[in-house]
């Protein structure tokens, strides 16, 4: 057992989903782009039905590395300049086998101007963010990301090790100023197994075990709820903004697809002046 564990850890070295090579950018308009547009059309239909989604607007912007260092940990930042009018955000990684990575519904205690999370990217792909506005309309943004192999990349440790402390949560609070939104970072210990990760020695697939729902509230008010799936990286880290109205506390619940349920309450110190 000990030796197989060590082997697994060493094997992680050869499965690092990193691909760095010189090359040209995403090719100009052609068959490839048409196929990507067609793909997005099919995904949109499945998620949003016949809803009309406006592109080219400024409701939401995606920041992602053009070329990711680690395809299993690709940082994505969604910026919402028009924060008062956005109700929900969806993040879609077009070429992942499960493209619908996250769906975030903001509550009254949210400051939606910036949301950051880390995702797995299976192949060079368009990434889409769709904002649902409070008036019921939709706007989309897109970004092309070069990363490959993120969904099947093993964690570099045994499953048992990866699950140690599962459900532990930490919260870091940014600078607090009276009357201003605060940025916070939620970290949840959880392997978020994709079900596509193979133990290279036993050749068994680790069953999918991932966080399905996260709720964050401040005092009595919701900050956000997020539905996630196997495209969210192991040990999820989510940066978000909230309105520190009242004394808190910040309460987080997380549930996974195998019945795991965790809760934690974080006391919030009031602003220093």
């Amino acid at each position: 057992m000990a030796s197989s564990r060590r082997t697994t850890a060493l094997l992680a070295g050869l499965t690092l989903p990193i691909l760095i090579a010189a090359g040209s950018a995403h090719a100009a308009a052609g068959d490839s782009d048409n196929q990507r547009a067609e793909r997005w059309g099919e995904i949109k239909q499945q998620i949003f039905g016949d809803a009309k989604i406006q592109s080219g607007g400024k409701a939401v912007k995606i920041d992602a590395p053009k070329r990711a260092d680690d395809a299993s940990l690709v940082p994505i930042t969604l910026t919402v300049p028009d924060k008062d009018n956005v109700a929900e955000l969806s993040l879609i990684i077009d070429d992942n086998p499960t493209p619908y990575a996250a769906h975030v519904v903001f509550g009254p205690a949210a400051d939606p101007s910036e949301l950051k999370l880390r995702v797995r990217v299976n192949n060079y792909t368009d990434v889409h963010a769709v904002a649902k506005m409070k008036d019921g309309t939709f706007q989309e943004a897109t970004e092309y990301v070069k990363a490959s192999g993120g969904c099947s990349a093993p964690m570099g440790m045994s499953d048992e090790e990866a699950m140690q402390g599962m459900g532990d949560m930490r919260m870091k609070f940014g600078e607090r100023q009276p009357g201003k939104p605060v940025q916070a970072t939620l970290m949840i210990r959880h392997p978020n197994f994709s079900g596509m990760q193979m133990n290279q020695v036993t050749r068994d697939y680790t069953p999918a075990r991932y966080i399905q729902k996260i709720t964050v509230s401040y005092g009595e008010k919701s900050v956000f709820t997020m539905d996630g799936d196997i495209s969210i990286s192991a040990n999820p880290v989510i940066n978000f903004g909230y309105l520190p109205d009242g004394a808190g506390p910040m309460k987080v619940t997380a549930t996974d697809n195998q019945g795991g349920h965790w809760e934690k309450s974080f006391p919030v110190r009031s602003a220093s002046n």
């Binding site: 057992m1 197989s4 082997t7 060493l10 094997l11 070295g13 050869l14 499965t15 690092l16 691909l19 090579a21 010189a22 090359g23 040209s24 090719a27 052609g30 068959d31 490839s32 196929q35 793909r39 099919e42 995904i43 499945q46 998620i47 077009d94 070429d95 086998p97 499960t98 493209p99 619908y100 192949n123 060079y124 070069k146 490959s148 192999g149 994709s194 079900g195 596509m196 193979m198 290279q200 020695v201 036993t202 050749r203 068994d204 697939y205 069953p207 999918a208 075990r209 399905q212 799936d229 196997i230 697809n257 195998q258």
Partner: protein, 195 residues
């Protein structure tokens, strides 16, 4: 207790040793005598006896000048158990435009029916021309394309090219196209497949 290892100890040890080397290790992985029977993902040799090893630029040149038969050996995404009912499982595969996708044709062992089907399919794609250039590929560190290349050499093809960098090496500078598993290969008799 951990499940018993399915691989023979020797194979596991070989995987262990090769894994300890860095990605572009000067420590060469030796060509196995037969087809590689271990995990398909792992460090591969730098050579394939009887075939030519090519990079993306050489593949592009081959495509331009010789219209090779392009064979993609990538595995099909396997749907994990435990996804939410009604959730969106919607895999897609992109490879070198014009390729024929033959998933599982690079397994260490093919049963007799699969061997026959492969032989017939490749004969069809090459028009029975043993001199026709063929390129086999999948992903980096993938033994499947190595095994298929070796199979083609054994079938008598004299212009086999193995492209170890695979789809990742290609897509960095070239367009890809959406691909579906080859219908005729997928329709092969599968009496003994399904292990």
């Amino acid at each position: 207790m951990r499940p018993v290892l399915r691989l023979p100890i020797v194979t596991a040890a070989a995987v262990f040793l090769t894994a300890a080397a860095p990605a572009d290790s000067p420590v060469g992985v030796r060509e196995p005598d037969g087809y590689w029977q271990g995990a398909l993902h792992g460090y591969t040799p730098q050579t394939l006896a009887g075939a030519t090893v090519v990079d993306a630029g050489e593949v592009a040149k081959l495509i331009q000048e010789h219209k090779p038969v392009l064979l993609d050996v990538s595995e099909i995404d396997r749907k994990p158990a435990g996804l939410p009912p009604g959730g969106l499982w919607f895999p897609i595969h992109r490879n070198i435009p014009g390729s024929t996708w033959l998933p599982a044709s690079g397994e260490g062992e093919l049963d007799a029916a699969a061997q026959d089907a492969l032989k017939a399919r490749v004969a069809d794609l090459t028009g029975g021309d043993l001199e026709r250039p063929i390129v086999t590929y999948c992903h980096p560190d993938c033994w499947g394309s190595w095994n298929l290349g070796k199979r083609l050499v054994a079938l008598g093809y004299r212009n086999v090219h193995w492209f170890p960098q695979g789809i990742e090496g290609w897509q960095d500078g070239h367009d890809t196209a959406v691909s579906r598993p080859d219908a005729r290969w997928a329709a092969r008799p599968k009496s003994t497949v399904g292990q």
